[in-house]
């Protein structure tokens, strides 16, 4: 018998489909925004955190902490200057240093960044919690013009080992100057990591030097380029690199080595602790995200207010309906439940619609975010945080929905069965 009230609530809602659908739509949007902001906050942070692990210092030309982190690890932005090979070697020879990996940036291939490095990169680079880079097919580069590509490069461009690729000069998506004379060959494809590694083309330092033979004054000199048939003519020892990853024998030595590099008299250098730089990055982002969260909460409240207004407006018209229900035996609390049930149904459908829209949006936006920001945001079921937010939104809607329900209850008590026309 009590169940019939819910039947009534549903039928009543169906009768006012149009307004209700608009209300649901607005609340669903706001829920999507709220969950989206929360999801972005968590996932972005985790994605950043999972990009690099086990490296004690990142060394580059003197610039800002976060900037160095971004261009060397995330391939976002550009360096301002270089690190001379001499300095790099000096650092590598320091007592406390266990290993170093040189990084050379500045070229691209069809929008993907090219990284010049050596085989140590594949040995020492770690991501997530101490995970090593693995090969899905092929192997690490050995020849000068060998290339190892990340999983996304292979997938998006349909490359397989043996593929010939031409590198372009510069890091833009479009380049008007390509190193067409010296093509590279894909010898290895890495397994997916969920980090910017997936979107990188790795080549040897010698390879980078080779394609820049004849580029001494900033652009290619016609007639002068690397001739693979006469390798003895060229000295492919790099003179400078963009940045370096450094691993120490003891983490307690971190500050001393950092100070040594920062104070290095021969060249203006910067050494950052990845953890600290990441923390600074997040702290900056956190402020923006808190603002976003606050706004989304307000938007949800706006949506709920709209729903309540719609119900309150209908209240007057429905007084006759309530009087009729009273006359056939409905108790006042039946009337109360009728209205509360309506708020509940609206919030429930809106919440569901919000989640579904969020997934849809994420599926669409994911490749964009990945290519622009190097952020890998997996589509996953709602996290605990998100569920809590969702429940809070629904509770808020139900709570506010109590207002018209209570008013309806009072009206039905006062009106009794008299239909005030």
């Amino acid at each position: 018998m009590e169940m019939y009230i819910f039947v009534l609530a549903v039928k009543s809602i169906l009768n006012r489909k149009f307004t209700i659908i608009l209300t649901i739509f607005s609340i669903a949007l706001s829920v999507m925004l709220l969950l989206g902001v929360e999801r972005l906050r968590n996932d972005a942070r985790e994605s950043f955190a999972n990009t690099i692990s086990g490296t004690d210092l990142i060394v580059g030309a003197r610039s800002g902490q976060v900037q160095l982190l971004l261009y060397s690890v995330f391939r976002i932005g550009n360096p301002t200057n270089n690190v001379s090979w001499k300095s790099y070697q000096n650092i590598s020879e320091q007592r406390q240093v266990a290993w170093t990996v040189p990084l050379s940036l500045g070229d691209s291939h069809r929008g993907f960044r090219v990284l010049g490095t050596n085989q140590d990169y594949f040995r020492h680079y770690r991501y997530a919690v101490d995970r090593q880079l693995e090969f899905a097919s092929g192997n690490v580069f050995e020849g000068i013009f060998d290339a190892v590509i990340g999983a996304d490069v292979a997938r998006e461009l349909g490359y397989r080992p043996g593929q010939e690729i031409i590198l372009a000069h510069g890091t833009g998506e479009v380049s008007f100057v390509k190193h067409t004379g010296n093509p590279f060959h894909v010898v290895g494809i890495l397994r997916k990591t969920g980090t910017p590694v997936d979107r990188t083309v790795h080549v040897s330092l010698q390879g980078i030097e080779a394609i820049h033979v004849g580029w001494e004054n900033g652009s290619p000199t016609p007639g002068r380029q690397y001739d693979p048939n006469n390798p003895q003519l060229y000295d492919l020892q790099p003179r400078a690199i963009t940045a370096a990853l450094v691993g120490l024998k003891s983490r307690i030595a971190t500050f001393r080595v950092q100070r040594y590099i920062n104070d290095y008299p021969e060249e203006p250098l910067l050494a950052v602790l990845p953890g600290v730089a990441l923390q600074e990055l997040w702290d900056t982002m956190a402020i923006a995200q808190q603002a976003l969260l606050a706004i989304s909460v307000l938007v949800v409240l706006v949506g709920i207010t709209g729903m309540t207004t719609a119900i309150l407006t209908s209240l007057n018209e429905r007084r006759r309906e309530m009087a009729v229900l009273r006359s056939v035996g409905a108790r006042p609390w039946h009337i109360f439940v009728l209205f509360v049930g309506e708020a509940g149904v609206v919030m429930g459908i809106a919440a569901l619609a919000g989640i579904v829209s969020l997934y849809a949006l994420q599926l669409v936006a994911r490749p964009l975010i990945q290519s622009r920001l190097g952020l890998y945001l997996p589509v996953h079921p709602p996290s605990l945080h998100e569920l809590i937010l969702l429940l809070a939104a629904m509770a808020a809607g139900m709570l506010v929905g109590l207002v018209p329900a209570y008013l309806a209850y009072r009206y039905s008590l006062a009106d009794g069965m008299t239909i005030r026309i």
């Binding site: 942070r45 999972n50 024998k249 983490r251 307690i252 971190t254 950092q258 953890g275 600290v276």
Partner: protein
């Protein structure tokens, strides 16, 4: 009579339990440290600085003055000897400090350095080796870090190990069982 006997017996039992409890607690006593505790007796770089101050009035000299450079070098060597307070080895300690995150996901850090000050000026060398603690958390999830310049209490087992100077820097490490926020009063 019986009542009195019961009373005596129960009091004695209580006393035994209390003592045992105390004894147990004493075994698990947590030493609350200050940063000065990490510097062993006899290690006194201030003396050296005082010497130089008296002799050369280094406070007035510019940074690139040879005497200043000499002093800094001497301090450096002193520090390289890495004197540790080895009496702290294997003790359960509690120490407050600033967090320098090493492995973190922004909310929790599984490895970090604990230092007595943060963001000092370039003119002063970084904290000496006996004023840095390398902390790893027992909890695999890590310790909650509230952002840059977060201050925490670290409780855990400390190791003060001096390795052969050739291989690596020696130093203090703590395997932290608890990391709590430190709020200045």
């Amino acid at each position: 009579m019986i009542k009195k006997a019961l009373y005596v017996v129960s009091t004695m039992l209580l006393a035994v339990l209390l003592v045992q409890g105390n004894g147990a607690r004493a075994g698990l006593a947590i030493m609350e440290l200050e940063w000065s505790d990490l510097i062993p007796q006899g290690y006194n770089p201030d003396e050296l600085v005082e010497q130089y101050r008296k002799k050369y009035n280094i406070d007035e000299l510019p940074e690139d003055d040879p005497h200043v450079i000499e002093l800094l070098q001497k301090l450096d060597e002193l520090e390289k000897a890495a004197p540790l307070n080895t009496s702290l080895d294997d003790k359960i300690v509690k120490l407050p400090g600033f967090v320098v995150p090493l492995e973190t996901n922004g909310e929790n850090a599984t490895e970090f350095l604990l230092v007595p000050y943060f963001g000092a000026c370039i003119h002063v060398p970084p904290p000496p080796v006996n004023q840095i603690v390398y902390v790893t958390t027992q909890d695999k999830k890590g310790a909650s870090i509230r952002g840059m310049f977060d201050t925490v209490w670290v409780t855990g087992t400390m190791k003060a190990v001096k390795l052969s100077t050739d291989v690596a820097e020696a130093g203090y490490t703590i395997l932290a069982s608890r990391v709590e926020p430190y709020n200045p009063e």
